[in-house]
Symmetry: C2
Subunit: 338 residues, 2 copies
C-alpha cells in the first residue's frame, strides 16, 4: 500500500478557460477513519464542467474552495477500512473523495455500487449524476412524444447521450448536436440517433432546419449560448426547452445575455431550468430503467479515460474546451478485483 495521499489542489480562479497552472499537486498522510467513518481509495475521478463554476467561488454551489484545498469532485472508490456500520472493506461506492487518492466519509450521500450491473465507472456517468440528469430532464421535463423531434446538444457526453437514447426509447426522432464529424458519426451509428449536426461546421440554424423539417418539439440544452439561439429559431409549436448546462458561460466573468425570447412566445414554448439535485429521489428509477436497457444492449455510452491523478488538470482543461469524447474520467487507482 502507498504511504501517502496524492492530491490535486486548487491554486487560483481561472481567467476564462482553465489552464493546468490553476492547479497544484501535493501529498499528505493517508487519513484514518474515526467511529462512524470509512476510508476509501479512489478508483475513478469524474470530471464535470460544473467544477469550473466551483473554481469561480460562485455562490450557487455548496462547495467553497480556498487556495490549497483539494479539488472537490465525485469518485468511485473501494473501501479500505471502515468504522461505519453500513459499510465494510471491499465495498465499492460512489463518494465525493475529490481529486485525491484517499478520502474519509461519514456515509452521507454515498451510494453503494453493484459491479454486476455494469462497469463501476458508469456510476459516474450514465448510471450516476449525469445519467440522472439526462434521464429526468427527458422523461419528466422535456417529455417528448412518439414521432416528435427531440434535439440534444453535447450529445456524446454522458448527459446528452443519456437524454438522446432515453428520448429514442420513448419513440421520438432524435437529432444530436456535437462538435466534430467523428462525434456525429458516433451519435448516429452507436447511439442510434436519427441525425446529428456538427456545430463547428457553421450555419447551425440552417443545419438544424434541414435536420428538423417539422421543427424542434423538445430540446435538451447542455451548452446555452449561440447553440440555444439557433434552436429557438427552429421551434415547433408547443416546444419544451430544458435548460441544463451553459458551459460557454462557465468560463466567463460576467454572464452573457440570453437569446431573444420572441420565438418562445411565437412557438408557445416552455423553458424549464433543471438542477439534478432536485431529482435524487429518482436515482433508483433511473438505475432500474437504464440498467435494464444496458442488459439488453439497447443503451450505449463512451468514456474518455485519462490515466493517473497527476494528469487530471490537463484532462479537465481539455473537457472545458470540448476536446473530450465521451464521459471524462481519470483513473486514479487500480480497479477492485471482484
Amino acid at each position: 500500500m502507498k504511504s501517502g495521499n496524492k492530491r490535486i489542489i486548487f491554486l487560483r480562479s481561472p481567467r476564462g478557460l482553465p489552464v493546468p497552472e490553476d492547479f497544484g499537486i501535493d501529498e499528505t498522510a493517508i487519513p484514518q477513519p474515526n467511529a462512524g467513518q470509512f476510508l476509501s481509495r479512489t478508483v475513478y475521478l469524474s470530471l464535470d464542467p460544473y467544477y469550473r463554476n466551483v473554481m469561480k467561488n460562485s455562490q450557487i454551489y455548496a462547495d467553497r474552495l480556498s487556495p490549497g484545498d483539494a479539488m472537490v469532485g465525485e469518485t468511485v472508490a473501494e473501501i479500505v477500512s471502515s468504522k461505519h456500520l453500513d459499510f465494510k472493506a471491499g465495498d465499492v461506492v460512489a463518494v465525493r473523495n475529490g481529486w485525491q487518492q484517499y478520502g474519509l466519509s461519514d456515509g452521507q450521500g454515498v451510494r453503494k455500487i453493484d459491479p454486476s450491473v455494469a462497469p463501476i465507472a458508469t456510476a459516474l456517468g450514465v448510471l450516476g449524476m449525469p445519467g440522472l440528469t439526462g434521464y429526468t430532464g427527458t422523461v419528466h421535463l422535456a417529455q417528448p412524444l412518439p414521432g416528435q423531434t427531440f434535439v440534444v446538444s453535447a450529445c456524446t457526453g454522458p448527459v446528452g447521450s443519456t437524454a438522446g437514447q432515453v428520448a429514442r426509447h420513448m419513440g421520438a426522432r432524435v437529432v444530436g448536436i456535437a462538435g466534430s464529424k467523428e462525434k456525429c458519426t458516433f451519435a448516429v451509428s452507436e447511439l442510434g440517433f436519427d441525425a446529428c449536426v456538427d456545430y463547428r461546421a457553421g450555419d447551425l440554424r440552417g443545419a438544424l432546419k434541414a435536420a428538423c423539417p417539422n421543427g424542434i418539439d423538445a430540446y435538451f440544452d447542455n451548452v446555452g449560448g449561440s447553440t440555444l439561439e439557433a434552436v429557438t429559431l427552429n421551434l415547433a409549436m408547443g416546444a419544451r426547452i430544458v435548460l441544463c448546462g451553459m458551459i460557454e458561460a462557465y468560463s466567463m466573468d460576467a454572464p452573457p445575455p440570453g437569446p431573444w425570447l420572441g420565438p418562445i412566445v411565437g412557438a408557445r414554448a416552455t423553458m424549464k431550468g433543471l438542477v439534478v439535485y432536485d431529482h435524487m429521489n429518482r436515482m433508483q428509477e433511473m438505475t432500474r430503467v437504464i440498467g435494464q436497457w444496458i442488459k439488453e444492449d439497447r443503451f450505449r455510452w463512451r468514456e474518455d479515460v485519462t490515466d493517473g491523478l497527476e494528469h487530471a488538470p490537463e484532462a479537465f482543461c481539455r473537457l472545458m474546451q470540448g476536446q473530450n469524447f465521451g464521459k471524462a474520467l481519470v483513473k486514479v487507482g487500480l480497479a477492485p478485483s471482484h
Copy 2:
C-alpha cells in the same frame, strides 16, 4: 347619417417609436352589405401595442398592410344594416372594423356584446382580448398559489390589471410594476394590489427585492427587456414566468437579446410563451368569472379614451411610449342608445 366613411390609413413602417406622420387619413363611401354580411358603425376603437408589429410587416400576424390600407384593429360597433341571419340592426358587437367609422363583416370571429353586463367598451378591455390574455395567462399558465408572490408589469393596462386582480382573487400577494407614481397609487388603492414598484424610479432589481422579500413565485411579463431581467434576479424556487408582451422590442428593427438564463436554471423556473388566440375557447369562462366580480364590485379597470378617430394616431404613439393610463381607446362614434 354621415355620407362618408373616414379612415386612418397606414402610410409607412415606423422607424423606432411610431410618429403620427406614419399614418394618413382619407374618406371613402360607406360600403353596403351583400348577402351574408352586415354593416356596423364603430363606437370604440381599441389601441393595442401589437399594431406596431403589424406595421413592421412582421410575419407573425395574419394581417398584412400595404401603404394606403386602413389600419387594422378591434372595435366595438353597432350594426346599422344586416343581411346576415345571426345579426340584426341595433346589435352591439366586437368586430375588427379597423381604424374607420364603418365596416363590413361576414360574422366570422364576431362576438355579440350584452350591454347589461358592463359598459360596452370593456369588450375591448377587461372583458375582451386583453382580459382573456390576463385571465388565461394567470389562471392557466402562471398558476399562483395562495400566499405566493405574483408580479405583473404594465400593471394598470388592461392585461396587467386583469392578471393582477385575478391573482389577488386566487389568494396571491400581488406586486405591480408601472411607469409612474400615479399609476402605482392606482394599482394599490383601486386595483387592491399589495404593492407597486415604479420602474422609472431606478434600481428596479433592488425595489423588487424590497417588495418581494420571499422572492417572486410567478411573473406575468408584458414588457420584456430590462424589467424581465430585474425579475429574473429575484425569483423564488420553482417560479413561473409567462412571456406575453415585449413592448420595448416592438419598436426595434432587430430583436434585442434576452436576459442571462442562469437564474432560470438556479431557480428551477419555467418560462412559457402566451399567445391569446390559443385560448379563445376560454372567452366564455373568462366573461362569466370576471363578469361576476364586476357585478360584485370586486374588479376594477381604467380607460384612457381619446375622442375622435382623427386623433387615433397621436393616441397610439402615446401608448407606445407608455404615456397612456389604462386601456387605450378611441371614441369613434356615439354610443348606442340602449
